[in-house]
């Protein structure tokens, strides 16, 4: 059975519908890339899964349990962690505090501050510094580390490479590879299509709040994805429109 099951979710900001009837099924251990243009509803979908945004309709099941009405902090205890877009660290807290604050809500899994610092060595000498003083790459590492401290079964990564120097992006993805190898289920939003395809097992493409294409990353061609990305109805695309 799939670990995450999103069923016909609608999500809106006021009158603006950001996500329309999206269904998504992610298996345990899978790495799913979510691609699409800006405003396609990827971030909103992740926020719905994490519980930060309440959907107007639809359901979210996690490990067979209906979590649609469960608040975000309880979903963390169930094993869902989100690395939000723009990193969103607690700027006044130190690196160590940012990490330790996320620990202890879900026992087991074995992530500790020491272990996070071991996979992100660049944070080692920054641990007592306030998060606001870090560079972009260090902040992103801290944000991922903070999510890991939740001991997640499912980690949601929202544009972890945004605004980073290429070198920092490479470092972040290097550490992610380790994480994915460890069996954690990952759903990631990534603008860089090449990177999204190389790191993921399956890819879902969204357009105007709907899923327009889904398939194994190795089976889909770049052209197919690009066409779906910009709304050119590719023949092999799974049309979500009725």
């Amino acid at each position: 059975m799939s670990l995450l099951e999103v069923g016909a979710v609608d999500a809106q900001y006021g009158l603006l519908k950001a996500v329309r009837g999206v269904s998504l099924s992610v298996d345990e251990g899978e790495t799913r890339a979510l691609v699409g243009a800006n405003g396609a509803g990827k971030t909103t979908l992740l926020r719905v899964i994490a519980g930060a945004h309440r959907p107007a309709a639809g359901t979210v099941f996690f490990d067979g349990v209906d979590i649609t009405r469960i608040p975000a902090h309880k979903r963390v205890a169930l094993g869902i962690a989100l690395v939000p877009e723009g990193r969103r660290l607690f700027p006044g807290l130190t690196v160590e505090e940012n990490l330790s604050i996320a620990g202890g809500h879900r026992p087991g899994g074995g992530w500790t501050v020491e272990r996070v610092l071991a996979i992100f060595p660049m944070l080692q000498q920054r641990r007592t510094q306030r998060a606001a003083t870090l560079s972009g790459g260090e902040q992103q590492a801290t944000a991922i580390g903070r999510a890991l401290m939740c001991n997640p079964r499912l980690i949601l990564l929202d544009e972890v490479s945004l605004g980073l120097a290429p070198k920092a992006v490479a470092a972040v993805y290097e550490s992610l590879r380790e994480l994915i190898g460890g069996g954690t289920t990952v759903v990631l939003v990534e603008q860089d299509l090449g990177r999204a395809l190389s790191v993921s097992t399956r890819v879902t493409c969204m357009l105007h709040g709907e899923v327009v294409l889904e398939g194994a990353s190795s089976a889909l061609s770049r052209e197919q994805i690009t066409a779906a990305y910009f709304g050119v109805r590719a023949s092999s695309g799974v049309g979500a429109d009725t």
Binding site: G51, A52, F90, G92, I101, A147, C150
Partner: protein, 288 residues
């Protein structure tokens, strides 16, 4: 010099009144307009206990603080939680309404007469020590010491305990705090409970140092508010400094003319408000 000492001691009292106000603003961005009235509730509770059961005031104070703590928790869950969800302005109106309700309920129960704990505290409130031409009130010292202990305790709680770190994180970004497993609602309720308990403590000192009646609250709120603004919103040490600056200004004003007691405090408050920096310590330790 004596004036300065009196001002500092008075400032300790204002700081004690102000720290709960500062905490609530720092954590939830709620300005609690009922803060002064809540302090007066603390004063009445202790007064009732002391007069009904003739227990010593310190024991009554120990009993009242947990009651205030629970009352704060309930106040958050029943009133502030709902109004906070309705927007930024609504909690302000809620606490304004709460202040009016408290004042009128107190008026119903206790009549508008003045009360005081002065008579039950023996010589504590009136004795002083002389020291090289300085007269230092024992009770003033006790108040200032309490304020400092409370502020150190608050600082320790916020920076060293898990609960305190969660409170700081929630203050900075409640949305993300939820995403790392923190129950923001529970954190807010706890912050309110702490703030109300400290307000109650302030109220007990109020009851010993002066007379009080159901309409004493708003004046205390204004002084507490001025202390918080002078010191810079949301910074514990700023609150102490703000209280002291306010106290010294008032005592100097009274020295010039007894009528200027309150006026000088207001002038300093306005001067700080008008200054480009805002509070004295407002840039450092921005949240809480």
């Amino acid at each position: 010099m004596n004036v300065l000492v009196q001002g500092v001691l008075l400032g300790g009292f204002y700081a004690l009144l102000a720290c709960g106000l500062s905490l609530m603003f720092g954590v939830m961005r709620i300005i609690n307009l009922a803060h002064g009235d809540i302090a007066v509730i603390g004063a009445y509770l202790v007064w009732v206990l002391v007069n009904q059961t003739s227990m010593p005031p310190w024991l009554a104070a120990l009993l009242v603080l947990p009651i205030m703590w629970v009352a704060g928790y309930v106040m958050y869950v029943l009133l502030l939680e709902r109004s906070r969800r309705a927007g930024q302005l609504v909690p302000l109106l809620t606490t304004f309404g709460l202040a009016i309700v408290i004042e009128n309920v107190l008026l119903q129960i206790f009549s508008p007469d003045d009360h005081s704990l002065l008579s039950s505290t023996g010589t504590l409130a009136t004795s002083s020590i002389s020291f090289g031409g300085l007269t230092i009130s024992i009770f003033g010292m006790l108040t200032l010491a309490t304020a400092v202990v409370v502020l150190i305790g608050l600082q320790f709680f916020l920076s060293r305990t898990t609960s305190g770190r969660q409170m700081r994180a929630t203050a900075e970004d409640p949305d993300v705090a939820e995403l790392v497993g923190i129950n923001a609602r529970a954190v807010y309720a706890k912050a309110t409970a702490i703030a109300v308990a400290i307000a109650g403590l302030g109220g007990i000192f109020l009851a010993i140092r002066q007379t009080f009646n159901p309409s004493t609250g708003p004046t205390q709120l204004i002084f507490a508010f001025e202390a918080v603004v002078i010191g810079g919103f949301g910074s514990p040490w700023g609150t102490l400094l703000g209280g002291i600056v306010l106290g010294v200004a008032q005592v100097i004003g009274a020295q010039v003319n007894p009528q200027y007691f309150v006026l000088f405090g207001h002038l300093v408050f306005l001067a700080v408000l008008a200054s480009p920096r805002g509070g004295l310590l407002s840039r450092r330790g921005r949240t809480v």
